[in-house]
C-alpha cells in the first residue's frame, strides 16, 4: 500500500445557479494577462451543450485522454513514436475559433460618438487583432440554451440517442438544462503529464496539484491535446502552456481557491483524500461501466489504523490525516456515494467529483391542473426531463446505476426533510425510501446539513501544507522563505529555452 494525499473537490450541481462568479474570480486573479485572454481556467457550461472549447468531450476529434489498448491504458493521441514524429506539428490542436476569439468593447464610443438620432453603442473589439469583430462564439455560448439548434443539438453526450429522444429533449414544454462548472481535475493519472515531451508538467507530491513548470515548458502543446478536459491552455505571448493551479498560494496559506471562495451557491467543497497509488493501474484496467466503482475503491478510509500507519510512513502527518477524516469530499464520494467523476471513461482518474443534479420532473396537465405527484416512490427520478442515460454518459461511463443511486439518495433525503419540516409525508414511506438506498435517518440528516447549511470550515477542510518540510529539501535558508507561498517566480515566463 502506497498512501498518497490528494486535495480533492466536489461540486454540487443541484446548487449551481450558473452565475459565473467563479469564472470571474479566476479570470481576475490569474488570466487577466496578455496571451491569456481566451483562457478560462474555470468555466461554467450549460448542459446539454457543446461547452468550451466547442465539443471538447468529442475525443474522436480532440484525441484527449487514455484508451484501453492491449490491456493497458494508452494515450489516445498516439504512442511516443508518433508523438515524436509529430513533434513539430501537433495535428490535433484546437483552433482559437474552437475556444472563441476573445473580445472587449470600445467603451469610449459611448462618450465620443458625434451627436445623432440613435444611441451610441460600444463596438466589440477583438483582443487578438484589436479590430472590430462580429462575435460568433464565447466561452459559454450555450448559456441557458442559447443557440441550441446549433450547439446543444450537437452535444457529444447525446450520441446514441434516437430521433424521438432528441425531439423530446428539446421540446419547448419540457426544455431543461443544468450547469456544469469545470476546472482542472488534478487527475491521478493525468494525460497532460504523460504527454509532455519536456517533462515540464508534474503532480505535486504533497497535495497532488498538477502544475506546469514555466521554465521547462517548451511549447510543444502536447498537453493541450492530451488533456481530455481541454484544461491546459497555450499562452501565445509567453510561449508557454498554462493551467489551473488550484490557487496553491492560497491553499498553502489556508484559504480556499478563489473560485471556491467566491461561489455564490456554495456548491464547492474541498478536502483531502487518501488513496492507494499501488492500485492505480488496477483501477484503470476495468471496463467503462466499472470505472466509477474502481475509482472509489482507490480512496482509502482515513479512520483505518492500518491506512494511518502507512500514511505516516509516506510522510503524511497527523494533521493531514485528521483533515482527511473531516474532508467533505470523503463523505460525498466514498461514504455517501453521492458524488461522481466527470467522464471517468477518459481514464485520467479525475479528482473533481460532481453531485448530479435532481432535475425537474416531467409533469402532466390534467383537468387544468399541473400535476407532478406520483404514486410510485422514485418515479420522478426516472421521469426527470433529462434522461438518466444522459447523466450516466457524463458522470459514470454510461453506467446508469451509480447515477440512479445518487439521485435516489438525494430524493430520499428530500423526502425525509419534508416529513421532518412539513410533516405531510408518512414516516413509513420515508423509511422505505431510506432503506432502498441503504441509509439511515441519521445519515440523511448529515447529508442535509452538509448540503444545505455548511459553514465555511465545513466546506473547505484544508490540511496545513507544511511548506517548510518541502522547502527543507530544497534550501537550507528557510528563514528567507518565511511567510511565502509556493516556490515563487524568480522571473516572469519568457519565450524559448
Amino acid at each position: 500500500m502506497d498512501v498518497r494525499l490528494q486535495i480533492s473537490m466536489v461540486f454540487h450541481l443541484d446548487k449551481c445557479i450558473g452565475c459565473h462568479t467563479c469564472s470571474i474570480a479566476c479570470k481576475n486573479v490569474w488570466t487577466d494577462r496578455k496571451g491569456a485572454e481566451y483562457m478560462w481556467w474555470n468555466n461554467v457550461e450549460t448542459k446539454p451543450g457543446t461547452g468550451y472549447p466547442t465539443a471538447w468531450e468529442d475525443q474522436s476529434k480532440y484525441k484527449g485522454g487514455w484508451e484501453q489498448k492491449n490491456g493497458r491504458p494508452e494515450l489516445r493521441m498516439g504512442r511516443k513514436s508518433s508523438r515524436l514524429i509529430n513533434l513539430f506539428h501537433n495535428p490535433h490542436l484546437p483552433k482559437l475559433d474552437d475556444y472563441y476569439e476573445p473580445w472587449t468593447y470600445r467603451y469610449e464610443d459611448l462618450f465620443d460618438s458625434p451627436e445623432g438620432a440613435d444611441q451610441p453603442t460600444a463596438r466589440p473589439i477583438s483582443m487578438i487583432t484589436g479590430k472590430p469583430i462580429d462575435i460568433e462564439a464565447g466561452p459559454n455560448w450555450d448559456d441557458d440554451l442559447g443557440g441550441s439548434p446549433v450547439y446543444a443539438a450537437n452535444d457529444p453526450n447525446l450520441e446514441g440517442f434516437d430521433e424521438q429522444q432528441r425531439e423530446e429533449l428539446f421540446d419547448v414544454q419540457r426544455l431543461v438544462f443544468f450547469y456544469l462548472p469545470r476546472i482542472c481535475n488534478h487527475c491521478l493519472n493525468p494525460a497532460c503529464v504523460a504527454a509532455c515531451p519536456s517533462g515540464a508538467i508534474y503532480k505535486r507530491g504533497e497535495d497532488g496539484i498538477v502544475l506546469i513548470n514555466q521554465e521547462r515548458c517548451r511549447a510543444w502543446r502536447m498537453c493541450v491535446t492530451a488533456c481530455p478536459y481541454k484544461k491546459t491552455y497555450y499562452n501565445w505571448s509567453t510561449g508557454k502552456s498554462e493551467k489551473c493551479i488550484l490557487c496553491f498560494p492560497r491553499l498553502e496559506t489556508g484559504q480556499a481557491p478563489a473560485c471556491f471562495h467566491s461561489c455564490v451557491g456554495r456548491i464547492r467543497y474541498l478536502g483531502a483524500l487518501l488513496y492507494d497509488a499501488d492500485r492505480l493501474l488496477e483501477a484503470l484496467n476495468v471496463a467503462d461501466e466499472k470505472l466509477v466503482e474502481a475509482h472509489r475503491e482507490l480512496i482509502l478510509d482515513p479512520f483505518d489504523p492500518h491506512v494511518q500507519a502507512e500514511a505516516l510512513k509516506n510522510g503524511i502527518d497527523d494533521q493531514a490525516i485528521e483533515a482527511a477524516q473531516r474532508s467533505p469530499v470523503y463523505k460525498y464520494v466514498k461514504e455517501w456515494r453521492l458524488a461522481l467523476p466527470l467522464h471517468p471513461e477518459f481514464r485520467t482518474l479525475p479528482m473533481l467529483f460532481y453531485v448530479p443534479p435532481l432535475l425537474p420532473v416531467m409533469a402532466r396537465a390534467e383537468q387544468g391542473l399541473y400535476d407532478t405527484s406520483d404514486k410510485e416512490l422514485f418515479a420522478p427520478i426516472d421521469r426527470a426531463r433529462v434522461p438518466m442515460e444522459y447523466l450516466a454518459r457524463l458522470f459514470a461511463g454510461s453506467n446508469v446505476d451509480p447515477v440512479r443511486y445518487s439521485l435516489k439518495k438525494q430524493y430520499a433525503v428530500r423526502l425525509f426533510k419534508r416529513m421532518d419540516t412539513v410533516g405531510d409525508i408518512d414516516r413509513a414511506l420515508v423509511k422505505r425510501a431510506l432503506q432502498e438506498v441503504e441509509t439511515s435517518e441519521d445519515e440523511a440528516e448529515q447529508i442535509f446539513r452538509l448540503t444545505s447549511l455548511p459553514t465555511m470550515t465545513e466546506r473547505f477542510v484544508i490540511p496545513p501544507s507544511h511548506r517548510e518540510e518541502a522547502l527543507a529539501m530544497l534550501t537550507e535558508d528557510l528563514w528567507e522563505e518565511k511567510g511565502g507561498a509556493g516556490l515563487g517566480f524568480r522571473e516572469p515566463p519568457t519565450r524559448g529555452a
Binding site: 457543446t50 472549447p53 468529442d58 480532440y62 484525441k63 495535428p91 490542436l93 484546437p94 475559433d97 439548434p149
Partner: protein
C-alpha cells in the same frame, strides 16, 4: 711592350664582353623580377576587372583615363565609387549604368598607390601600348592530364592545398553535376572566351572581386592548382552553342524550375496526405453543418 699591349687588349676585350653581357643582363633581370610599382599594383588590384588598351572587361578600359578625367575626380572615384554615385555625380552615374550590374567596390588604397597606378596608365597611354601583366604566366606548360586534375579541384573531389573552398560552391560550368554548381558567382562556361589567357591567369592568381577576395585573399591557389584549373576551364564545352553570347551570366535552367515546382507540389500533397486526419477546427464545421 707590344706583347703586353696585346695581352691587355685581349683581356680588355674579354672583360668588356663580360661587362657588356652583365650590363645587358642586369636590366633584363631587373625588368623581369621587379616591374614598376604601378604595374605590380595594377596587376594585383585592378587587372581582374580593368584593361589598359585591350578593351572593356567587367569595368572600362582605362587607357587615356587620365586625359578624360581630372586627377581629383579619379582619386575620389577609386576610393569610393558608390559614394560618388550616391552623391549624384553625372560621370559616376553614367559608369554605373553602363556596367550594371557590376559595382566597383570601395578600395582600401593610399593616395601614393593611386598616383603610381595613374602614372602607369599615363605612360602606357603616351606610348600607345597595352598593359601586359608580368606575372600572369603559368609555372609550366599545360598537359592533357591537367584537365581532369583541374576538374577534380573544381568539383572539390580534391581539396585546395591552402584551404580555399572548391569552385563549385559558388560557380557552375556546363556538365558539372546533375543540378550544376553554385549560383553565387558567375557561370564559368566559356570563361576562356570572355577573358584572354593572361587575364584569366591573373584572376586565378589574384581574384580581386569582393566575394572572392574575402575567401581567397588568405588562401591563395598554388601555382600547380592554377595550371590545372586553367587547363580545365579552357576545356569546358558549352552545352548549348548559344551560351557563348551569355558567357559568365548565371542562368536558371528551365528544367531546374520545373523540378522545383514539381517537388514543392509533391511536398504539399505529401504533407496533406500524411496529416490528412488533422484537426481542422470543430466549431466552424459544426455551425456550417447545422445551418446548411
Amino acid at each position: 711592350m707590344k706583347g703586353i699591349s696585346m695581352m691587355s687588349m685581349r683581356s680588355g676585350f674579354i672583360w668588356s664582353v663580360i661587362g657588356l653581357c652583365v650590363g645587358l643582363l642586369i636590366p633584363i633581370e631587373a625588368r623581369g623580377q621587379a616591374p614598376s610599382p604601378g604595374a605590380t599594383l595594377f596587376e594585383k588590384r585592378c587587372y581582374s576587372c580593368h584593361n589598359i588598351g585591350s578593351g572593356d572587361k567587367k569595368g572600362p578600359d582605362l587607357k587615356g583615363v587620365t586625359l578624360r578625367r581630372s586627377r581629383d575626380w579619379l582619386h575620389e572615384y577609386i576610393k569610393s565609387p558608390a559614394a560618388m554615385n550616391r552623391r549624384g555625380d553625372p560621370e559616376a552615374r553614367a559608369l554605373f549604368e553602363k556596367f550594371a550590374p557590376e559595382v566597383m567596390p570601395d578600395q582600401d588604397i593610399t593616395d601614393e598607390q593611386i598616383d603610381a597606378i595613374l602614372a602607369l596608365i599615363d605612360e602606357l597611354t603616351r606610348k600607345n601600348e597595352s598593359f601586359v601583366p608580368a606575372g600572369a604566366k603559368l609555372s609550366r606548360p599545360v598537359t592533357p592530364a591537367d584537365i581532369d586534375l583541374g576538374r577534380q579541384l573544381f568539383v572539390g573531389r580534391r581539396s585546395l592545398s591552402n584551404g580555399g573552398p572548391a569552385c563549385i560552391s559558388c560557380h557552375t560550368v556546363s556538365g558539372v553535376g546533375r543540378l550544376g554548381g553554385g549560383t553565387l558567382g558567375p557561370d564559368l562556361t566559356a570563361v576562356n572566351v570572355k577573358y584572354r589567357d593572361p587575364e584569366l591567369i591573373a584572376i586565378l592568381q589574384n581574384p580581386n572581386f569582393p566575394a572572392m577576395k574575402a575567401v581567397f585573399g588568405t588562401r591563395p591557389l598554388t601555382d600547380e592548382e592554377i595550371v590545372q584549373l586553367f587547363a580545365y576551364l579552357q576545356n569546358v564545352k558549352p552545352a548549348h552553342p548559344t551560351t557563348q553570347a551569355l558567357a559568365g551570366v548565371a542562368r536558371i535552367e528551365p528544367w531546374f524550375v520545373t523540378i522545383g515546382f514539381v517537388a514543392l507540389l509533391g511536398a504539399i500533397v505529401g504533407f496533406n496526405l500524411a496529416w490528412k486526419n488533422r484537426l481542422r477546427g470543430v466549431r466552424e464545421q459544426l455551425v456550417r453543418r447545422s445551418t446548411s
